[in-house]
Symmetry: D2
Subunit: 213 residues, 4 copies
């Protein structure tokens, strides 16, 4: 098992954050997981080992540029990208993610009193790996987001979401986000959860503040 | 100074790789740098602190979607993305970057004997942060690469590079790379160095092997 | 003067449509114009000679791919494309445009009684050169539309329209039209008229019927 | 039968260009054709009636934005756009197409003596409906061209053309044409004929002269 997971677990415990261990294999293809709860009320799990299956439809040896024989949006969803979560105790959550887990604050929204009401946290050149917006109730989910390669793909997703035979509906978009500048569409999947597909937006290290309107 | 730099320095020394320290401020806006030489012959410098100037042309507070009043490609170059370097001792270089510095092997090319002749190393969802191709001479430079947002931007760069009043010339492209699947153009800047501008390509964790033709 | 204008004038008169002639030069750079009123209440003018000024910012001799030194959307608006007009007497207007002026019906919307309530008329591979939607009042204007090269340009226009210092506001979009499948945004210019910028959509000869929802 | 075909035939005969009539139905779904030979040596056929089959994969009544269940480039080829032909007697060919058939000269290349060695002729806002380049041998074919919606589609075509199981090969591109500014790729189809797929380029009325290098 990778040393990085053991180190993260130790860092969480040292910080005073209780963890729960779930053995390897409990989730198919996944190594040991370590679960903790953020002050915002959300449960997170860390893992270091995951079965690698490659990209669907192309070989990992001399792969072609894209999979043949796919339909609809099958070729377009590049990766799971981030979640936006609603909850309280943003400051404590911010401290946990930045001091213990190595995230940095890429973008924030401050209200008229200077209180942070939205925090977008990143580990790399992405605009966010996880984002939190203040909400009085703990542990709420806003959306899960998938990255597409182009703004054309976002429109194609909008076309597909709107077709009669897909049990999906558009929430907002296509449009450009104010925060992160992503080119985006929110939609509801058949189970009723809000999802996002987006392209572009900020893809370099930025530290941005916004004020509430 | 960030703990991560001290840790990296210690890891390099423990691995047997000599380091040289350059004090903060020797390079304007840059914190302490630690220099080491990879087995391929190239010198690298690590730093943890850098003056943050933000994106040119927009505020860091309530920024607009893109800078106004810019011309040519000024709005299009998103970030320095990676370098491709030529040199020998690829295996030892691979071990240094993966065992000590946390890179993983995203893509490789094997010759008919199964020897790795190209290694593309990444730290995140990028197709490469640094790449090495075997060359009998140590410490050679192939190109430095800048990320553009779209394939349209790549063509626009090609137009601009080809205009008579820019002292630049196209080397290869526009085309799609076999490795990384980036949409790319190589060109020579006025000083004669090869540069690249590219968009898209692989932007998720992939582990790909290719064979030489 | 071109024979085609004389022929069109004769065809209008033969059809019973009165015409009014406006001499060359009354409008700077424009040849003789012939004005007529469609049954929908709108006035149209035909002309065959127009001063040709070329594309702004590039030479007509060995032009570069696009103008340098332009800002904002200056490079993006390719051409005036079409108007959408509101008025009554759609059938009589349809007959005038198709029987006398050579348009064909590219797309129509029929209500539940089979009455045409929208007619999109084209002279070429464009989805429409002029469109009419039924309205009880004669001679109303809905929007004038400008063609952009890409869906990216449409988003860029949306960004620009929304910036604080432009006295413009978004009406609808960015989205895809049901009719014509254009990728579009409607906005209000500083004088309050509705305009459109759009890209793509149907660009080949199509004959499409739609029913009202 | 449409009056426009009879008129064109009469105009050709009046101009001194012999015509040959081919009866309706000789080509399935096509009305009466009238064949003539241009001074460049090429045979052309005019027709006014053609069976309309609509876009493959979508209904002509309330069509969706694009066909579902298609693969490869099936969704991308929008229309046959133009041909480039090689032959001699460019001036006489130019006069026939502009004086009799209503084309205009959208773009030309002049050699150092001011002789036109390339002429691109258009009937609308397209950069060309037919183009001729000087060649000492009459009646040669250079390529037939198909219009794609975007520069992304051009790259996707390049990917597909290069895949091992398609019996096609790239001739030139992807690149931008000097003439017409189209974003293009030339390739050879399995029968060995050169074809083109392209997007964008000039889509408004332009009159451009170029000099040979």
């Amino acid at each position: 098992e990778k040393k990085v997971l053991s180190q993260a677990v130790q860092d969480l415990i040292d910080y005073g954050c209780p963890v729960e261990t779930i053995p390897a294999g409990e989730l198919t293809g996944c190594g040991r997981r370590v679960r903790f709860q953020a002050p915002s009320g959300h449960h997170f799990e860390l893992y270091a080992d995951k079965e690698y299956t490659g990209e669907w439809g192309v070989s990992e040896v001399n792969p072609e540029a894209w999979p043949r024989d796919l339909k609809g949006m099958e070729t377009a969803a590049v990766r799971f990208d981030h979640c936006l979560l609603y909850g309280d105790e943003l400051q404590a959550t911010y401290e946990l993610f930045t001091k213990v887990l190595g995230f940095y604050l890429a973008e924030q929204v401050l209200d008229e009193d200077g209180t942070r009401v939205a925090q977008f946290l990143s580990l790399s050149t992405k605009a966010h790996d996880v984002a939190f917006i203040h909400h009085p109730e703990k542990g709420r989910f806003h959306h899960a987001s998938f990255y597409l390669e182009t703004w054309e793909d976002v429109l194609r997703a909008a076309d597909l979401i709107s077709m009669e035979t897909t049990d999906t509906s558009i929430d907002i978009g296509p449009t450009r986000h104010g925060l992160t500048h992503g080119k985006t569409i929110y939609f509801f999947d058949p189970s009723g959860n809000r999802c996002e597909v987006f392209a572009a937006g900020i893809t370099t290290i930025r530290i941005i503040s916004r004020s509430t309107p």
